[in-house]
């Protein structure tokens, strides 16, 4: 089981806050933004943290993020949420906000002896410890954290399960070791290392990590009747229990002037990657082509595996190619990419055609804030030619499958569905072996349907797509 909490309150609290904020922004009632923390934590309610005031402060900073501001943007603590609401802006240059007010400063990862320890005669914890880190005090085992190397042998050998591993959940799930404690004792994300996979956000039990948002600006542009065009990732198919045409109808209903499927750009990506592969296959020795679709993966290679950089396909991602096409017909429009993950926010920022990004979570919250029922929407007619190949990109294996179909020959494919320390090791071996034609790497388990900001789990998504 993944460390990310499979079902937890944090994502529900985040979406509930988004709905409340968007409702007020749609009514252009920024004044009541200040009321949200009080409404959710009224006097007399049991606090979740040390006291209600702390709970309210945490909510305030979460709402600030939803409004596009980071905790560090606060120069005056008295600045009310209504001010941030009135000064809507996009996510600027931060994508993930680790709110120090919300961070519980979890103790550093180590093994702890619990009260279940009975101080037995066998003492397997002590005799199996390779570092002599265990002594006995007051009839119970005691681990000297200075000598302990976190091997876990004591835990595995205790007959009473008295020794537990206490992780720091955010650091535990980060595949690139981008989170650590800073000099002030707070957790901090090093954005030079971060690949925006979103695992820390999913794993933090205190909901202290929250994404930035472009939605307030998008709402402002829609309210001022600018042309705002949505380009929607193929993974949308499993996000609502409704036919694709009806989901598109719901996206239109929240104010987008037009809508395009990124699956069309994905078809072009597949064709261009196939062309690249055809050229490579002519060479007697080649290292294999690495797919460029997943921005977290591309970022991982960029920041952590410089020797693999030359193997990454030069083909732009489906989002980039879709935006180029859409820009031709809508030169002055604001183009919004709607997708399943945070990494796309980073990629979109580097692209001149994509103005904003919106996650599926944000889209769901906006649809609810509008009072739109997806299942009751008019269908939005799609193109005559359905981009079947492009729609496959939502699931792991889809890119390789599309390239294989276009190439018309058997390919040696190395597929990664979920980038983590173990799959990275397997990748490194495959690169060394030089037997792979095509590497399809999806940072999230299951592919894009397993993205960090989806509305349904990857498995439920697949169930919906297949039904």
């Amino acid at each position: 089981m993944d460390m990310a909490l499979s079902k937890s309150n944090t994502s529900i609290i985040r979406k509930d806050l988004m709905i409340r904020v968007y409702r007020l922004l749609l009514q252009e009632n920024t004044r009541d933004l200040d009321r949200i923390p009080l409404l959710l934590k009224p006097r007399g309610r049991d606090p979740w943290r040390c006291c209600l005031h702390k709970d309210r402060a945490v909510l305030k900073y979460k709402i600030m993020s939803i409004l596009g501001y980071a905790e560090k943007d606060e120069t005056d603590e008295l600045t009310p949420l209504s001010w941030y609401g009135e000064h809507a802006r996009g996510s600027q240059n931060f994508y993930l906000n680790l709110i120090s007010e919300a961070c519980s400063n979890c103790p550093s990862a180590n093994y702890v002896v619990t009260n279940l320890c009975r101080g037995c005669e066998a003492r397997p914890c002590q005799v199996n410890c390779p570092k002599n880190a265990i002594s006995f005090k007051n009839g119970q085992a005691f681990i000297d954290t200075e000598t302990c190397v976190n091997c876990g042998l004591c835990m595995r050998n205790c007959p009473y399960n008295a020794i537990q591993f206490q992780p720091r959940p955010c650091e535990e799930v980060c595949p690139v070791n981008a989170i650590s404690t800073n000099a002030e004792g707070h957790e901090e994300i090093d954005m030079e290392k971060c690949i925006l996979c979103g695992r820390c956000m999913q794993a933090c039990p205190f909901g202290a990590i929250i994404p930035s948002s472009d939605v307030p600006e998008i709402i402002q542009d829609i309210n001022s009747e600018k042309e705002v065009v949505a380009i929607v990732a193929p993974a949308i198919a499993g996000q609502f229990r409704a036919p694709l045409e009806q989901i598109y109808g719901a996206i239109k209903a929240v104010g987008f002037s037009n809508l395009y499927e990124v699956a069309e750009g994905a078809e072009l990506t597949a064709r261009l990657e196939t062309d690249e592969l055809v050229e490579l296959l002519k060479q007697s020795e080649y290292p294999g082509l690495m797919s460029s679709c997943c921005p977290a993966w591309v970022d991982y290679v960029e920041k952590n595996q410089p020797s693999w950089r030359s193997s990454i396909s030069h083909t732009p991602s489906p989002m980039v190619l879709s935006a180029i096409e859409v820009r031709k017909n809508h030169p002055d429009a604001k183009i919004v990419f709607i997708g399943p993950c945070l990494a796309k926010k980073g990629e979109a920022r580097k692209d001149k055609n994509v103005n904003y990004t919106m996650s599926f979570e944000e889209l769901g919250a906006l649809i609810v804030a509008h009072g739109v029922e997806v299942a009751e929407q008019e269908t939005f007619p799609l193109n005559e030619k359905v981009p079947e190949l492009g729609r496959k990109f939502a699931l792991s294996g889809g890119v390789a499958q599309s390239v294989g179909i276009l190439l018309g020959q058997e390919l040696e494919v190395h597929q990664v569905s979920g980038l983590n320390k173990a799959t990275i090791r397997q990748l490194a071996r495959a690169v060394k072996d030089c037997k792979t034609d095509f590497f399809e790497v999806m940072c999230c388990e299951g592919g894009c349907v397993g993205g960090s900001q989806t509305l349904t789990s990857a498995s439920e998504s697949v169930r919906i797509i297949n039904s």
């Binding site: 979406k15 609502f240 229990r241 609810v368 739109v372 029922e373 509305l455 439920e460």
Partner: protein, 86 residues
């Protein structure tokens, strides 16, 4: 014997706020309960309009369950079915 009636809210708010797996409840139902439980989906039942109530919502035999989940509904049914047959 009268069937237990389960109505799952399929409104968008319930879907977004934690209820996305509830409509698959029927597929998670143990084989031997299939004849004893009647599961239906319903458009928004309006419980979300009450700010004191917590989505997602499921009605079981006319009673509303808040913060419903597949496992909570199955547990509730197990108690009901257990009492009804034993």
């Amino acid at each position: 014997m009268k069937k237990h009636k389960v109505v799952v809210c399929t409104g968008t708010l319930c879907h977004v706020l934690g209820g996305s797996e509830l409509p698959s409840l029927g597929q998670r139902l143990p084989e031997e309960w299939r004849g004893l439980v009647d599961i239906k989906g319903s458009p928004c039942m309006g419980y979300c309009k009450d700010s004191e109530m917590h989505p997602p919502f499921v009605e079981i035999d006319g009673e509303v369950m808040q913060e419903a989940s597949v496992s909570k509904v199955l547990e509730y049914l197990e108690k009901r079915i257990g009492h009804g047959t034993k």
